[in-house]
Each structure stands twice: as structure tokens, then as C-alpha cells.
Symmetry: none
Subunit: 220 residues, 2 copies
């Protein structure tokens, strides 16, 4: 099955094979992987080929290599690829638009899901966010949306979202402005009330607001 098609790019097959090996080893996050020399021997390829595959995975943030120690399954946190991609790809308008749209798709879906499940929308965490918003405590945009995604319980969607978030031009890391706080507050209230449609509308308004403010900044 696997090696039926010796594609002209061996290192791509290797990436796939490595995945299989890691799985067989039952490797979890942070675990040490076989050394490059061992892998080369086991897969019957040169060490340089193994290295090309590993470097790719490293740039993607899937593994972590430490000189003198070894190679480890990474915590999916710090992808180096963010800055790389942003300088290469992000100029392309179609890509930017699609990334933003797709991110939005996942966010909307999560909001609706939470709003439609009584046990989820009743969670105390929403109240906590609401009180923060009303008491003018700083709230990071990212944190609220992330919480919604997490509660929605679709881990795949969450992972995709994490990825898209990093490519997005929306300034996710900043704290909300005064106007935003009100929109976000409405969003939460409607979501908690089970009014998914209105919550999504609030979300759309919120996004618009963020984009407007951003546009204003650029003009200065």
C-alpha cells in the first residue's frame, strides 16, 4: 500500500513514513524520537534524506530538535512558519481573504453550537467574561473566541482555528476597545440566552468594528 508509488520526491514519502513510525512507537508530546542515524537505517535511506524530512517537520513545528540531545515530538505551539509564511504568502490577496473567511466559518460554527446546547451556554465561564467586560478589565480578543471554540468541543476545528489565527491579519493579541466590549458583551448575552442567530449577528458586527478600527490606524 504505502510504497506502491515511488513518487519522485522521496522525502515526502519519508514524512509519511515517519508519521507511521512515531505512531508505532506510541510517541506522545515531548517524547524522544529515534535518532537520525537510526531512522535512516530503519527506512533504508540516507541520513540526508531523513534530515530533509525532519527539517520540514521542524519548520512546521511538529518536532523539535536539540543538538546533542535528540529529536522530540513538539508541543504544537510555536510554529516557526508564522513569520515565514507571513512574509512570503500573505501578500496574496486571495489567500488572505480565504484565511479570514475560513477562520470566521469556524468561529461562527462554534458560537452557534454553544448557543444551541443548554449545558454549554450555561457554563460559568461566560459569566466570568461578562463581568470582566462590564468592569472594564482588559480582555484579549483571542481569549474569548478561543474559549468558545474550546467549549464547542471540536478539537479538529480548534486546531485548524489555531493555525488560521496565526496567519490572520486581525490583531488578535490586543485587548478590546470600548466599542468592542459592548459588541462582545451582546454576543455573550445572546449566546447564553440560546439565541444563536443574534449572537452570530453580534459577532459579525464585532468583526466589522475591528476591521474599521484597523483601517483607521493604517491611515494615520
Amino acid at each position: 500500500m504505502e510504497n506502491s508509488r515511488p513518487s519522485s520526491k522521496r522525502f515526502l514519502d519519508i514524512v509519511s513514513d515517519l508519521r507511521t513510525i512515531f505512531k508505532e512507537e506510541g510517541a506522545g508530546i515531548g517524547d524522544k524520537l529515534p535518532s537520525e542515524r537510526v531512522l535512516a537505517d530503519r527506512l533504508q535511506v540516507g541520513r540526508s534524506t531523513i534530515r530533509e524530512a525532519l527539517r520540514s517537520l521542524e519548520l512546521l513545528g511538529l518536532i523539535e530538535t536539540r543538538r546533542g540531545e535528540g529529536t522530540f515530538l513538539a508541543d504544537y505551539k510555536k510554529h516557526q512558519l508564522v513569520e515565514i509564511l507571513s512574509t512570503f504568502i500573505m501578500q496574496h490577496p486571495q489567500s488572505i481573504r480565504d484565511v479570514d473567511r475560513t477562520r470566521k466559518i469556524h468561529e461562527v460554527a462554534a458560537i452557534e453550537l454553544v448557543a444551541n446546547h443548554a449545558e454549554l451556554r450555561a457554563l460559568p465561564v461566560w459569566e466570568s467574561f461578562l463581568s470582566k467586560l462590564e468592569e472594564a478589565e482588559p480582555v484579549i480578543r483571542e481569549d474569548l473566541l478561543q474559549e468558545i471554540l474550546v467549549v464547542a468541543g471540536n478539537r479538529l476545528s480548534l486546531k485548524i482555528w489555531f493555525l488560521l489565527k496565526q496567519y490572520s491579519r486581525v490583531p488578535f493579541h490586543e485587548a478590546m476597545t470600548e466599542n468592542e466590549r459592548e459588541m462582545a458583551s451582546n454576543l455573550l448575552k445572546n449566546m447564553r440566552a440560546g439565541n444563536g442567530q443574534q449572537a452570530v449577528a453580534d459577532y459579525a458586527g464585532w468583526l466589522e468594528l475591528v476591521n474599521e478600527e484597523r483601517r483607521g490606524e493604517l491611515e494615520c
Copy 2:
């Protein structure tokens, strides 16, 4: 200037240096880049180091290499990125459920988008599908949904959907049953009428139908 910080990862610096070179050359999409040997000479590093950097960029879909021809600045449309990440994600296969859900998220988003844009829902392709459905011509489930995704125009979403489809337990390749034809027909009609909500409801009903029938099969 460049090598002020000899970070222990030379190949990461190279990635950065390569970007500079490409920019200096004024390279646009599809342009040929200097050969590996030339780059190695110019940056005063070994060819293998250059290659590790290039392979990373290739996996990200930023460049394209063709044996015997050379290396080219890639068309950004086809990143390998999504594939690689997904295969890694799939290895934590705690939930095929998430795959189905996420696929559904993208399908719903596409249906709503088409329904909300007059120029998209007026496309003749929908009429074509409708007549096929009513005249009992075979229609593959996959084809209809794919068309919707394509028309929606979000390439990233489409790409993710293609991927998820492969891992999905829903039998996408089969032709629709009689009951399904009616649901799908309703979906199309509502979508064309700009009634996104009802279209999504039809879609949900359709999915339920498919799952029920599938359950029936398994019991046999």
C-alpha cells in the same frame, strides 16, 4: 550583518537569507530561482544546508522544484501545509466525530454563502442539478456538495473539505437514494430562493437520512 547571531540552526537563517535573495532578484510567481549549487556558493554554505532550507519551503508550498529543470517560486494555491498537518492531527484519532462535524461546518457555511449572494444562487448549474434529481438521473452526493463549495469561492475551505471528505465515514461516492433526492432537491430550491436557513435545515435532514440508511446497512 546577517550572521550577527549564529543561531544554532543555520538552516533557519538560510531560509531568511533565501527570502532576501529572492526579493533582490525581483522574482515573481513562477520565476526560476538560482540553482542549489549557486545558492550554496553565494551563501557560503554546503549544498545540503541549502537543500534543508529549500525542502522546508517546498513543504510549505512556497517554492516548487522540478528535477532536471530547477527551483521556482510557487503558485501559492497548493500548499502541502494542510495535508501534512492533517495527517498528523489524524493520528490522534480520538474522534472521527470531529471530522464529520468539521466537514459539516464547511458545507453549511458554503450553502449559506451561496444562498446569500444573488449572483451565485442564480447560477445555471443548480438548475442542472435539479433537473437531474427530478428526472431520476443518478447524482453522486459528493458532486453536489463539491459544486456548492467551489461556487462559494473559498479555496482554503474547499481544500480542507477535500481532505476531511477522505477521512469521513459518510459514503460520499455513492449515488443518492430516492429519499435523498427529495431532500437535496429541497435544499437546492431553498438555496436558489435565497432562503439560507431553510436550505441548511434541509441539509441537516439530508445528512440524518444518510446516517440512518447507513445504520440500517450495518445491521444487515
